[in-house]
């Protein structure tokens, strides 16, 4: 297993927050799993509804953008510990992916993206035949 998977943002150098006209955009947290058949990305996107999630793979870059509709207008915060805004993150996938079979689902604010590996790169056991 030798995947090179590079988050585009590096945590040390680039602040994961960018201010845009539409408000603040946050870099969501991700877990990434890989086995022989596929890579699975799990990302926390609380407050994103399925119709507001955009997942696209433009070889080799996977982009995830979740729009978060403002939940509060004109309210008086007594106390605030986190901000609300869109989520955006990109990953460079260093593995041949079968793009036809990519799938994504969003449940309880978590996106799960399945990136099935292309048949060519799957490890294969070679039958050894005798004389």
């Amino acid at each position: 297993m030798s995947t090179t998977l590079t988050p585009e943002e590096t945590h040390n150098d680039v602040a994961p927050v960018e201010r845009t006209l539409g408000g603040t955009t946050y870099s969501p947290r991700f877990d990434i799993w890989e086995n022989d058949d596929e890579m699975i990305l799990y990302g926390d996107l609380p407050g994103v509804m399925p119709e507001d999630l955009d997942v696209r793979f433009e070889n080799p870059v996977l982009t995830i953008h979740g729009k978060v509709n403002p939940r509060h207008n004109d309210i008086k915060f007594l106390h605030g510990e986190y901000g609300i805004g869109d989520f955006h993150r990109t990953f460079t996938i260093g593995e041949a992916i079968d793009t036809e079979r990519i799938s994504a689902e969003l449940k309880n604010g978590v996106v799960t993206v399945h990136l099935p590996k292309s048949e060519k790169v799957k490890p294969r056991r070679i039958e050894v035949t005798c004389c």
């Binding site: 994961p16 877990d31 799993w33 510990e81 986190y82 604010g109």
Partner: protein, 149 residues
């Protein structure tokens, strides 16, 4: 037992259990510097607001469902939220990146007003928990007539 008070931004909820602390450490080790929580050492971060009738407490708890949480209001002004976030179990492979953090958490603290704990409701939508805490009648703001005098 619970003596925390709500305070302005920053220094609230000093109670923190060990697991929570470990979880935070793990998150930090994972290279997280999400500004949304860099100043936080507690999970989950909370937002609190009010209108005339209710206090509202909101938390982002992706992956969880209401049944994974225990929400208590004691003494009509002590709120506590407990839960556990489990990592999806996977076999025959490896994790490349683990930023999300898993484990048990609990937060408790004093609400800024007394609420009617019997009618508190909670709603979970798309990973966002909203707790609605109806203010006790005597706590609702009332306009005081000032007589000229």
């Amino acid at each position: 037992m619970l003596t925390t008070r709500w305070q302005p931004l920053g220094t609230v909820w000093p109670e923190m259990n060990r697991l929570q602390e470990e979880m935070e450490q793990r998150l930090r080790r994972a290279g997280m510097n999400d500004p949304r929580r860099s100043a936080q050492s507690v999970y989950p971060p909370l937002n609190l607001w009010e209108d005339d009738n209710n206090l509202y407490v909101e938390a982002e708890l992706p992956e969880l469902e209401l049944s994974d949480l225990e929400i208590f209001v004691d003494g009509d002004n002590q709120l506590s939220i407990k839960g556990e976030r489990k990592q999806p179990e996977r076999e025959n492979g490896m994790w490349h990146l683990q930023e999300r953090g898993h484990g048990s958490f609990s937060r408790a603290g004093e609400l800024p007003q007394y609420v009617d704990s019997d009618t508190v409701t909670a709603e979970f939508k798309h990973g966002v928990l909203t707790i609605t805490l109806p203010k006790r009648k005597e706590a609702k703001s009332r306009r005081i007539e000032v007589k000229a005098g």
